[in-house]
């Protein structure tokens, strides 16, 4: 058995996408871990910011919501929602957003609103929050998912946040000038999107999981021809995550 948890692998798998100079939009949960880990491990010159308006906080303690007081402490600037969204879509900035979702489809479109009928739902979720906005404006979106067939679906019950829409050039034709789904990071693997078709494909599977298991748990056909095994988290990555990023185990 691996000596790390799903959340640890996911945080590190997503954190590895972040580069110095990126402006990282973090949401709640694992995305908070991934953003904090990325800055501490891979990209010290990345800037973490929150839709609530907190820009580049110290994050000595991990926030457990985007309005947590910890996102206001030691920032470059504390502002508000309007200012935060002026950053997400800013033409001069390379902004990467971390999101979570209840459902994802093959083009990386996300549902965080409802399962079942919109007006008489089986399960109601929190709703868009800023997700629809960052999906519209950010340079790229990385989504965290529990890898289950009922979550990787042919058709979303509700499309809250646009990824590659219907594939190909369809996102641009909507009137959205940039952005799109960069990756989906799950508890089993990392999925990416084909440059031309914009369809999801298996990029990396985590050590200990087979390609078959991933295919079985995905509710639509996926290309696995480009799949390779992911690098497991190193001892140092795990140490930073456990001792510095989330010592209270609020999210881990």
């Amino acid at each position: 058995m691996a000596d790390y948890t799903d959340n640890e692998m996911m945080a590190i798998g997503a954190g590895r996408f972040i580069k110095d100079g990126d402006i990282v939009f973090a949401g709640t949960g694992v995305s908070m871990l991934a953003a904090t880990a990325a800055k501490r491990i891979y990209a010290p010159k990345a800037v973490i910011f929150f839709e609530t308006g907190g820009i580049d906080p110290v994050l000595d303690e991990i926030p457990m919501a985007v309005a947590d007081l910890r996102v206001m402490s030691g920032t470059a600037l504390n502002s508000g929602l309007i200012e935060a969204f002026s950053i997400v879509g800013h033409r001069k900035l390379h902004t990467i957003a971390f999101l979570g979702a209840a459902q994802v489809d093959r083009f990386g479109n996300l549902n965080t609103t409802v399962i079942g009928d919109y007006w008489k739902p089986k399960t109601r979720f929190s709703g868009s929050g800023g997700a629809c906005d960052v999906a519209s404006f950010a340079s790229g979106v990385i989504t965290f998912m529990q890898h289950e067939k009922r979550r990787f679906v042919e058709k979303l019950d509700y499309l809250t946040s646009v990824g590659w829409y219907k594939g190909g050039e369809s996102r641009r034709h909507l009137g959205l000038q940039r952005g799109g789904a960069l990756a989906v990071v799950t508890n089993l693997c990392v999925m990416r999107f084909d440059e031309n078709t914009k369809e999801m494909y298996l990029a990396e599977y985590y050590p200990g999981f087979t390609v078959d298991k991933i295919v079985e748990n995905t509710g639509f056909p996926i290309d696995v021809s480009r799949a390779r095994e992911a690098e497991p988290p190193s001892a140092e990555e795990l140490r930073i995550l456990r001792e510095e990023v989330d010592p209270q185990r609020l999210i881990l």
Binding site: V66, G129, G175
Partner: protein, 325 residues
């Protein structure tokens, strides 16, 4: 009250503020965001006064939204997000109310709602954005047709327009402005002159306040004019926007108030435990809202030991090392 002559006509108690300015059916915007700076003290007072049929307009809300819905005060809701961090990934009573068709609701996004308040504050009737193109936010109208165009409900949820300036295929979404009857804000400071200062993130509180007909500000402290005017760069609202001022220490509890106190994990965990069960939730309201006559009494029930635990480090702004599980 006479100790603040400049704002003597605005300073009042929670009970008077609600009685004077909030009616059944009022459209209300509440300040704060999920676990932070919700105007809880006045929300509890609204529940105690059994105000009904509220039309709530908000971006991302947590505790205040959930208690108001759970107490049956809300008829209609325009919302981007109902969640309370790790204590409620989806607000519990909000979820139940939608699933049971107990409220009318309309989904927007955070930026869309913030822009709608901004438009209201600028006295323009609508505002364009690119946010939401291709999403189901533009495919589903939540509100029933028969209430469209009545009172404060816009005649439609949004409108799509081609950019009129570049002659190309370039779509934008037009959103209707919001001008709520009342905005409720909890701030750290109000000056003796009525100037409001929020510390930390302001979310969309300033736009909400400027968009609303009536603004009620609850605050942790009323501070001398000399203090609030010494560093005006830090101030959030000038006095003339504010109609009522209520000094309520711990007025955002159990949500957080930057540099004063953190969110209260103990109380939010208690809430999480009871909110899922109708009869336990009823008991919670009886004990913590209806059963106390004032916010002082509520805070006394929370207890000094817990208040010390959540007391914020005034420099860092939060309670360092607080057990947040």
């Amino acid at each position: 009250m006479s100790s603040y002559p400049e704002i003597a006509d605005k300073v009042m108690g929670l009970d008077e503020a609600v009685k004077r300015f909030i009616r059944d059916g009022s459209q209300i915007a509440i300040g704060g965001f999920t676990v932070t700076r919700n105007p809880m003290a006045i929300i509890y007072e609204i529940i105690r006064q059994r105000i009904k049929d509220i039309h709530l307009v908000c971006h991302s809300h947590g505790q205040g939204l959930d208690v108001l819905i759970g107490a049956g005060c809300v008829k209609r809701l325009e919302i981007a997000y109902g969640g309370n961090g790790r204590y409620a990934p989806t607000c519990i009573r909000f979820k139940k109310a939608v699933q049971r068709s107990e409220i009318e609701f309309e989904d927007y996004s955070n930026y869309q709602m913030s822009l709608r308040f901004l438009a209201g504050s600028l006295s323009i009737p609508f505002i364009p954005t690119k946010s939401g193109l291709g999403s189901d936010l533009l495919n589903y109208e939540g509100f029933p047709k028969e209430i469209r165009g009545r009172g404060k409900v816009a005649s439609k949820k949004f409108s799509l327009l081609q950019n009129p300036f570049n002659g190309e295929d370039d779509k934008v979404v037009l959103l209707p402005a919001l001008n709520p009857d009342v905005a409720l804000v909890h701030a750290q400071y109000v000056g003796e002159d009525g100037t409001v200062r929020m510390k930390g993130l302001t979310f969309a509180d300033i736009e909400q306040a400027k968009a609303a007909d009536i603004v009620i500000v609850t605050c942790e402290e009323i501070v001398p004019r000399s203090f609030i005017r010494l560093d005006p760069d830090q101030n959030s609202l000038p006095p003339f926007f504010v109609d009522a001022i209520v000094r309520v220490p711990y007025g955002a509890h159990p949500t957080a108030c930057y540099t004063f106190y953190d969110y209260d994990p103990k109380h939010l965990n208690l809430y999480k435990k009871v909110a899922g069960d109708d009869s336990l939730f009823r008991q919670y309201l009886d004990e913590w809202v209806y059963g106390v006559s004032s916010h002082e009494e509520y805070i006394e029930k929370i207890g000094a030991a817990q208040l010390m635990k959540i007391k914020a480090n005034p420099v860092l702004g939060y309670a360092v090392g607080l057990d947040r599980k």
